[in-house]
Symmetry: C2
Subunit: 249 residues, 2 copies
């Protein structure tokens, strides 16, 4: 297991080969073994392999080619719908139409997703998470017919790798760890922790290509802009309301 | 790896033995290899081992004994503070003070947590997630000195197991999987999928102890009540505001 975790790379180019049914079942089954809140298991996995729905998902996920290439797309959803229906059929009144319940269900779905990712990789498959899932939740809800109390929170594309990239850089361990309590970062801590990242060949290439002075500007001005973040925040909050998770009074 | 995932049990009783430094470093390092959004790594891990802070965390986590027993408590936080400081030091204007950015950072933190949990288990350690983290975020922020743009989203207690429980029941795989699109549950689906859980000896014992007619009532009336969920929803939304994540206009 440890070598799977320490060798993880996101894969963005896939072979056409489909995933054998027994392998797919094993990786989905691995998801079900993750811890969930009170063992409520308030998540669902939507496994999409057909061309028509994949094309719609591809359009929603900013037309990233890997969504069409990879044989299997798994959309992980916060799902209180099944649990609520069970309660209602059992003379119990569910009180899970609020923000806390969305966060609870979202947590379940994400821990499940990481189990699925790791067991996929242990079977020689490649994976990539799609952050676009929460930006485009409204479209994905329509494409996948998600009912009330179901919200997509992440997506994995899964398939046999057609590329073999190196490990991605990470901040040093001491940058993300705090001992006992949080110790806030001084300006020199920030300089030290980002030094390696800022001096990669890849970073220098990006700065030239994007004609920017700093790598941080590529994040704030190109990749993850305030304008986009505000638009996606609004649409995600609207989705939480329309899916029934904002009755907080 | 797969046998670690398929044998996962939450451990709630721990030996006093401390965790060797090299083992602790390996499990924390495993966290850093998880996928994060755009490789921004917007999370932090607070590693608490000292008696004084553990006692305060124990009080916040509903006085669950395992928080005092286990040698290491790791609080996983959505953290845009470090990234924002980097942007500001690099002539870039961060636009990460909104709800989407909280969800992004929270997703990073949860995938990291599951890597940490699995590599802990592969080293013979036991773990348990504390769902109380999001209920009691306000208290935990004070105890751990979390600055703006940092919110705790889950906690792992980690230590050598003093118990060896059996696997916990799960819904059948077909209950949590949907093929191509979401297929909503009919009343007979619900009956079928919850049949095994409702007929466990454990369930029968719980019904007797709690004097309830159905297992669902134990969830809605005892464990996860509407009243608590609404109170925790309000307090979590207040925390998101006070930590700086609700500038959505």
């Amino acid at each position: 297991m440890n070598n799977i975790i320490f060798n993880h790379r996101s894969i963005r180019k896939y072979k056409e080969d489909s995933i054998p049914v027994n392998v797919l079942n094993e990786i989905l089954h691995a998801g079900t073994r993750a811890s969930t809140t009170g063992n409520m298991q308030v998540y669902s996995m939507i496994v999409t392999t057909g061309k028509d729905i994949k094309e719609k998902l591809w359009a929603a996920h900013f037309k990233q080619n890997m969504v069409l290439q990879a044989p299997v797309i798994i959309t992980f959803c916060a799902d209180f719908n099944r649990f609520n229906k069970w309660c209602q059929q059992r003379k119990a009144s569910p009180g899970y139409d609020n923000f806390l319940s969305f966060v609870t269900a979202s947590t379940d779905a994400l821990l499940v997703a990481q189990n699925v990712a790791l067991v996929a990789e242990s079977n020689g498959l490649g994976i990539c998470y799609l952050g676009t899932t929460i930006y485009m939740a409204k479209d994905i809800i329509e494409i996948l017919d998600l009912p009330k109390f179901v919200v997509p929170v992440t997506t994995l594309v899964v398939g046999y790798p057609e590329e073999n990239p190196g490990l991605t850089d990470r901040l040093p361990l001491e940058a993300v760890i705090h001992k006992e309590k949080y110790t806030d970062y001084s300006p020199s801590d920030i300089d030290k922790f980002y030094f390696e990242k800022e001096n990669l060949e890849l970073t220098k290439k990006l700065l030239e290509e994007n004609k920017k002075e700093t790598l941080a500007q590529i994040f704030t001005e190109n990749r993850y802009t305030k304008k986009d973040n505000i638009a996606f925040s609004k649409s995600l909050l609207t989705v939480l309301s329309s899916q029934g998770f904002m009755h907080n009074d």
